[in-house]
């Protein structure tokens, strides 16, 4: 088989340039390999791509080892090489031409699909910058800006300015404007957390008083005097001091600066006040004033500064020597015993203060009220002179007229004096004599009980100007009313429980060991408190104490206070 091979290349203008060569062989290899008779030097061609041979009366070509021959895009394994046929091997187009004279086969081949330029191929496949990946900084920036502006400006504003929409969203757990909430509302207002418009009714205007008073309509003012209320708070919005969105605590000001606005120079604001200036507990706080009782009328109650030693006495009308009671080894009903503070001063539940000392509960065990201890264990009732006197009178009347003396031990002392004790008292004379005896005995015992032996031990007792012991009717003695102070400083709070520390004892503050008179006052003065309490500024080993550590806001205000007058509008703030 003699074959003419025509290698076609193209000139610059695209005209074909034919290079002819001749091979003679029975079979002919086509491929990339150098050994192939038809050498197609391109990596896309197999090393030995196909074989041309003569078989079944025709010249043919077959692919080797699955290498592809392509005819019009179809892959074929075997092809008859008839003139006019053309097929592709890799990037080459092979065409069977009319055999030239003296040849069995003329086959032309041309590289029709050369390898692309390597550089442009790499560049086309590569992405050298983030921007080439299709996302630009500018578009990302716009998206971020618009999303945030929509979610956090547009949506909440639309919700806020459309009342029907706000009504719908108010009950949602995530209402559109909750993202604006700068901080948790106080416990009392927390229910409004999803309804900003409840207080913030008008955009761009600060919360006005009438918006507060819509709920707090019965809220009293801060001070009693309506004139003073207007003078002090007339131009102040509620929300200037009651600032919310600061957490669950009550939105009230607890700072001393608020108190100092008036109290630092109280006389300037209120010339006739009895108060003194205060700025700080440690640096500038007057001596305590104790509220002391001087008599039953309201005007008898006086306030005495602790520095005024002459006036600093308690007029309780009770005789009570603390020193005597605190002596060790006192003689008690059950033998010798030693009293402590707690024997009489029992903390009330919660430890804040003490249960009032009561005669029956705390004194009676030792200080019995027996009026005839020789013959009876009976005692007169405590608390009412009238009841006690009546009991004594009845007791002796009963003894003198009864055949069997009531509740007595027969010692003979009374019985012997009774005339005709075994006979019935029948005559007026006998009755008068018995009554006379009973009265005489009662007076004698009463004088002994009230004036000499029992009552007078603790009480201020004097004879009544209206009745005499021997006369019928009336109560012959008056016991001065007892008033033991329990609250010494009603304008301040004091919690005994809080002052129970590992170091503290009663006597650290209350010096009663050497007190022999109930007129002595054992309330510690400001210097005692300052030993442990600093002012606003922290001090080593001391407790920082602000105004409200001890004082409430205008505490002890009783009776109705005037309603606050709403500040007219935010613009009128003075």
């Amino acid at each position: 088989m003699k074959i003419q091979l025509v290698k076609v290349t193209r000139s610059r203008k695209g005209h074909p340039i034919r290079a002819e060569s001749t091979v003679e062989a029975d079979t002919l290899a086509v491929g990339r390999g150098a050994q192939c008779a038809i050498h197609l030097s391109d990596p896309r061609v197999a090393l030995e791509h196909g074989t041309i041979y003569f078989g079944d009366g025709a010249r043919r070509i077959a692919g080797v080892g699955g290498a592809a021959l392509t005819v019009d895009g179809r892959v074929v394994g075997d092809l008859v090489l008839a003139p006019g046929a053309s097929f592709e091997i890799g990037p080459y187009l092979l065409t069977v031409e009319e055999p030239a004279a003296g040849y069995d086969l003329t086959l032309s081949y041309e590289l029709v699909r050369p390898l692309p330029d390597g550089l442009s191929e790499i560049v086309a496949k590569s992405r050298f910058s983030l921007e080439e990946e299709g996302v630009s900084k500018r578009s990302m920036a716009w998206v971020a800006f618009i999303v945030i502006a929509l979610l956090f400006v547009a949506v909440p504003v639309i919700n806020a300015v459309m009342p029907p929409l706000r009504a719908l969203t108010a009950d949602l757990k995530i209402s559109p404007d909750v993202v604006w909430n700068p901080g948790p509302l106080s416990a009392g207002h927390a229910g409004l957390s999803y309804d900003c418009g409840a207080c913030h009714r008008t955009p761009f205007l600060r919360v006005r008083d009438h918006e507060c008073l819509a709920c707090h309509e019965k809220m009293p003012g801060h001070v009693h005097d309506p004139v003073l209320q207007a003078q002090l708070f007339g131009g102040t919005r509620c929300a200037e001091c009651h600032i919310d969105h600061r957490g669950a605590e009550e939105p009230v000001r607890a700072d001393s600066a608020l108190c100092q606005t008036c109290h630092a120079d109280i006389k300037r604001a209120f010339a006739d006040t009895k108060l003194e200036n205060v700025t700080d507990f440690a640096k500038s706080h007057p001596a305590f004033r104790l509220t002391l009782w001087r008599g039953p009328k309201p005007e008898d109650v006086v306030r005495v500064r602790q520095t005024d030693k002459a006036q600093l006495v308690e007029a309780s009308n009770l005789k009570f020597p603390h020193d005597t009671h605190l002596k060790p080894g006192l003689k008690g009903p059950d033998g010798h015993e030693t009293l402590t503070c707690g024997s009489c001063h029992v903390p009330e539940p919660g430890d804040r203060s003490f249960v009032p000392v009561e005669m029956e509960r705390h004194c009676l065990r030792c200080h019995e009220l027996r009026f005839e201890p020789a013959i009876t264990s009976r005692q007169v009732p405590h608390g009412s002179v009238e009841d006690a006197w009546l009991l004594i009178q009845e007791f002796y009347a009963n003894v003198s007229i009864g055949n069997v003396p009531v509740d007595t031990v027969d010692t003979g002392a009374v019985k012997r004096a009774l005339p005709m004790a075994s006979e019935a008292i029948v005559t007026d004379d006998q009755r008068r004599r018995a009554l006379s005896f009973a009265r005489g005995k009662a007076v004698q015992v009463g004088i002994d009980l009230f004036e000499k032996r029992v009552c007078v031990q603790c009480h201020d007792v004097h004879r009544s100007p209206a009745a005499k012991p021997g006369q019928e009717g009336g109560v012959p003695w008056v016991v001065a009313p007892v008033h033991v102070a329990s609250t010494w400083m009603p304008k301040a709070r004091f919690d005994h429980g809080k002052h129970k520390t590992a170091q503290s004892e009663c006597k650290d503050c209350h010096h009663v060991e050497r007190s022999h008179h109930s007129a002595d006052i054992a309330i510690p003065d400001i210097e005692s408190c300052r030993a442990c309490h600093a002012g606003e500024a922290p001090a080593a080993g001391k407790v920082v104490s602000t105004c409200i550590s001890c004082h409430g806001y205008h505490l002890a205000a009783d009776g109705p206070r005037p309603r606050p007058v709403p500040a007219a509008s935010p613009g009128t703030k003075q």
Partner: protein, 277 residues
Amino acid sequence: MRHQSLLAYANFRYLKVAVVVVALTVGAYLWDNPPGGRNGGTWLGYALGTIGALLILWLLWFGIRKRRYSTGTVPLVAWLSAHVYLGATLIVIATLHAAFQVGLNVHTLAYLLMLFVIFSGFYGVYVYLQLPRLLTDNLGDETRSSLLLKITDLDRQAREMALGLPDDINKAVLTAGQETRIGGSWRRQLSGTDPDCATAAAVRKLQDTGKTLRGEQARTNQQLYTVMLRKQELLATVRRDVAFKARIDLWLYLHVPASLALLAALTAHVFSVFFYW
């Protein structure tokens, strides 16, 4: 003239300004003891908020100012130095403005976005100061285009060498040439690697099948292997180059969109405070 970094500009002038600003802010914060506690709503809170907001607007203006190289009498490096140092003061100004209060709201969103912008800016400063050296160290005397030309040349050489080698090797080399790509997805650009690199696959292929060859083919294969290794090295260099550039790009991708997000959140923050005053 000695090269002066943006940080050291004018003998650290703007660092000094920033230190003074921070000291004044902290001092004012400690000195002020408003009733009800420190808060964004006190006079100092409003003051710091106003300063912070104006500062943010001024910092954003840099994005516009930097495009106008020729305008103004102040050189751009001065702007940049001030941008960096005064931007950093916002960490203190805004934190004290908020008085350390955070919550699930737009105010904290603005604060977090601001911190993100600032810290992405710090990353940017690091990138600008470090990467030029890394870029130079990586490329040496080459440029990216010269490397790419060398790579295509190596591809051509390799293809010619592989013509005489078995089909699978030839195919691997052809694919390595045709499928060479650099960069690609953000991840590939930033990592500077390509797990599907056809060249790396061809190198592995040459190692494996090379052992079965003998004589002339074995020698050609050895030469081809060297060529492909060289190509792989150059590819790694170009990919590193792309990775460094991508890192420079990336910080701006973080810094710029976050800045605009911050502008929106800041607007919402200021607007909401006064809307519900």
